[in-house]
């Protein structure tokens, strides 16, 4: 290690796993070592020392690499270039030890040895490559069967919950859809041609374990349309145990109060149920989503920049979502075409919809307005004329 790092060293202490220890583990290489020194400087002067990235990338791609330079290059030359590589992970973030080791070996050869498993979008992130290493690194990744994720004004790496792989509540095959959409739209991911970024996230049920509604432009969230399944044996066990308190914790917390619990029997008025998952969550061994499963599609979720954060809003109240997923692909392409043509620079699709109006958006992508798409109809009387009007 080049210099003492007393401030960041403080963060080696304490029970939670330490990122400083992680950096130090890789600090036998010069890049991680310089990174630590840069960080120590930031802890000292309370300021970040990274600069905007320039145009770096791999041949043929406009995305997948985030250029990053340091403003203390003179002092810490091995942190001067510290680019990020976004690697598209297997859907659901499942790995084998072998493939992980393969990735580690590649990264040992070409970079700092530091990673993020995973980035907030869901990529496997290699943190700290020099420009000169990018091409050889990418060649090795391809050879190992990996490709880059998205960055810039492109489709970003779609991600999903573990779904049918590990969860009894998955209402559609999150991993299969995610894989399919990722593969079909490689070009949209690697060669930015959109007005701004576009994210897809898929959660198998309304618990939304990937936060799709809050942070994806297309949010695919599982649901069902028949009755909640009740397993009487499972229920009887809960009743016997007295935990949870079914009346107080389940029935009275149902947002529509559509359940009745009496004499150890649970009656659900499934027509009133808004399929929020609460009762199922609370009584996982007694209740389960219905059997006629599928998903809802919502659009427009995003962080605050520029017009304020948005949750995705409902577009399709139910879709079976079965291979070859033509319906969702058609919809995606219709959205992208419209937004690409009319969206402003750096305007997310959610903001675009708000600007042109949901009704116009629907008309353009060929969906009929449905009352499910709004929390409530308009309250203001400013009803414009339009062509299909008497």
């Amino acid at each position: 290690m080049k210099k003492p790092t007393p401030l960041v060293d403080e963060l080696e202490k304490g029970p939670w796993p330490s990122f400083v220890k992680e950096i130090k583990k890789s600090a036998d290489g010069p890049m991680a070592s310089d990174l630590l020194s840069v960080l120590e400087r930031s802890y000292d002067d309370k300021i970040g020392h990274w600069k905007h990235g320039g145009l770096v990338g791999v041949k043929g791609y406009g995305a997948g690499v985030i250029g990053r330079y340091n403003d203390l290059a003179g002092e810490f030359p091995d942190a001067a270039e510290f680019h990020t590589i976004r690697i598209n992970p297997p859907a659901g973030w499942f790995y084998t030890s072998d493939v992980l080791r393969q990735l580690c070996d590649i990264w040992e050869r070409h970079g700092s040895g530091l990673t993020n498993f995973h980035g907030a979008t869901g990529d496997a992130v290699f943190l700290g490559a020099k420009t000169v290493e990018l091409e050889p690194l990418f060649d090795e990744l391809l050879a190992a069967g990996f490709d880059l994720g998205g960055s810039g004004s492109a489709l970003r790496t779609p991600s999903c919950c573990c779904g049918k792989a590990r969860c009894e509540w998955a209402c559609f095959d999150t991993m299969a859809v995610t894989r399919e959409l990722t593969h079909v739209y490689q070009d949209e991911m690697h060669r930015p041609a959109f007005p701004y970024k576009f994210k897809i996230k898929a959660s198998g049920c309304p618990n939304d374990c990937v936060g799709a509604i809050a942070r994806s432009d297309l949010s695919i969230i599982g649901t069902w349309r028949d009755d909640i399944q009740i397993d009487k044996t499972g229920l009887a066990k809960y009743v016997a145990e007295g935990k949870p308190n079914i009346q107080r914790d389940v029935v009275e917390r149902c947002p529509t109060r559509c359940m009745r619990f009496a004499k150890g029997q649970l009656d659900i008025d499934n027509d009133e149920c808004v399929r929020c998952m609460h009762c199922i969550n609370a009584l996982p061994n007694a209740l389960a989503p219905g059997k006629d499963r599928g998903a809802m599609l919502l659009v427009g979720g995003k962080a605050p920049i520029l017009g304020g954060a948005l949750l995705s809003s409902l577009l399709v109240p139910f879709i079976k979502l079965e291979p070859p997923y033509e319906d969702i692909k058609e919809l995606l392409v219709a959205i992208w075409d419209l937004w690409s043509e009319h969206g402003k620079n750096r305007e997310r699709v959610g903001e675009f919809i708000q600007r042109i109006g949901l009704a116009n958006f629907l008309e353009q992508i060929g969906l009929d307005p449905q009352p499910e798409m709004v929390a409530h109809p308009r309250t203001n009387p400013y009803i414009a004329l339009h062509e299909d009007k008497p």
Partner: protein, 367 residues
């Protein structure tokens, strides 16, 4: 106008209400302890002292001839010691200290054509505006629609069988003088043609910057026509609000194709649910004087739907929120159109941003 010669005393303000209160109210002011509604249209308030005040509420068309007011005065003399008041919804209330005079008064009122009712879970008078009787801005007639609707809903005025109060309001243009925006059912006049600009008079009658500023969507732009300053309207941007016309007489909007819209689920009171705005149910119905059958039919159907489905104490909007808007539209048989989707300033706040939905037969892609 000839210059006034005598210096008159102005700004005297309204007369003191205390002079007009019946003695029983003067004695018990602020000391009422409870009330009952023994029959539709009659309120009995009991004071700490044990005294009872009987209020008899009669429907009024609000547009009153002085002859009718004199009739009310005469009835007040006969039955309520000359004391009466009007309500915030323009009904007239006779304030009686004598229980024995209640039924005779009701008989007289009804025989004169002024029905008694409007209390409790009923439909009371429709708050409304001027319409073709008096306003330049009106996209429909107020009194005519109100009369037609109340004739249709008449049984609900004189009974108390609804789940809760049901407040109807009418406004003849988007200025909403009736403040219809928080009514269980609101009927709202809508212009359906953008303003027609009279370039010949505009430069004399209107302030260009004020008129430009009056447009909520920026559809009004300054132009020069025949060398004179004037305005133009970008029609695709016009939401037909009439505000430019309010400030500029040379941009009239009245048109035989104007009509009305129906809004539901608003409320003002804080009881149970917080106050809420009415929401669009039916975007357009034509003006069909003298009896507006499309409107009366639509309103009646909404009232009956509500009466059949709501639970006790549930106002229209509370009921709809409970069952959800999709089901409301299906039950009401009202097609959901692009007009129902808000597209004004805060439109995005009205989009459905969760998956909390009741299941529906209508669910499939594009369906």
């Amino acid at each position: 106008m000839p210059p006034a010669t005598i210096k008159r005393k102005t700004d005297i303000g309204p007369p003191d209400y205390q002079k007009f209160l019946p003695p029983i109210i003067q004695r018990n002011y602020g000391k009422w302890v409870r009330h009952e509604i023994p029959r539709p249209g009659v309120l009995v308030h009991t004071a700490e002292s044990g005294e009872k005040l009987y209020s008899v509420r009669a429907g009024s068309p609000r547009l009153l001839s002085i002859k009718t007011i004199r009739l009310f005065a005469a009835l007040a003399d006969e039955f309520s010691g000359g004391c009466l008041r009007f309500t915030s919804r323009n009904n007239v209330e006779f304030l009686l200290a004598d229980a024995g005079k209640v039924d005779p008064l009701i008989l007289r009122l009804e025989s004169e054509g002024y029905p008694v009712g409007g209390t409790g879970p009923s439909i009371t008078n429709i708050v409304h505006t001027q319409g073709w009787v008096h306003c330049h801005s009106a996209a429909s007639d107020a009194s005519g629609v109100v009369k037609s609707v109340m004739d249709e809903l008449f049984p609900y005025f004189g009974s108390m069988r609804l789940p809760a109060k049901l407040r109807i309001a009418f406004a003849c243009c988007l200025n909403m003088c009736g403040a219809v925006h928080c009514s269980d059912i609101a009927i709202l006049g809508l212009h359906r043609k953008p303003p027609k600009i009279n370039h010949g008079t505009l430069f004399k009658t209107c302030e260009i910057p004020t008129t430009v500023a009056s447009c909520p969507t920026g559809a009004v732009r300054p132009v020069t026509v025949d060398g004179k300053p004037s305005l133009e309207v970008i029609e695709g941007q016009c939401v037909l609000c009439g505000n430019c016309y309010t400030v500029c007489p040379s941009m009239p909007m009245n048109d035989p194709e104007d009509g009305v819209s129906i809004w539901v689920g608003g409320k003002v009171s804080n009881a149970r649910r917080e106050p809420m705005f009415s929401k669009l149910a039916i975007p357009f119905l034509p003006n069909t004087p003298p009896r507006w059958p499309e409107v009366t039919t639509a309103v009646k159907a909404l009232v009956e739907l509500y009466a059949a489905h709501a639970q006790p104490f549930e106002r229209m909007g509370e009921w709809i929120e409970r069952i959800g808007w999709p089901r409301f539209f299906r039950l009401a048989g009202i097609p959901f159109t692009r007009d129902h989707i808000d597209d004004f300033t805060h439109a995005g706040e009205t989009y459905k941003r969760s998956v909390h939905l009741r299941r529906s037969p209508a669910w499939n892609l594009g369906g």
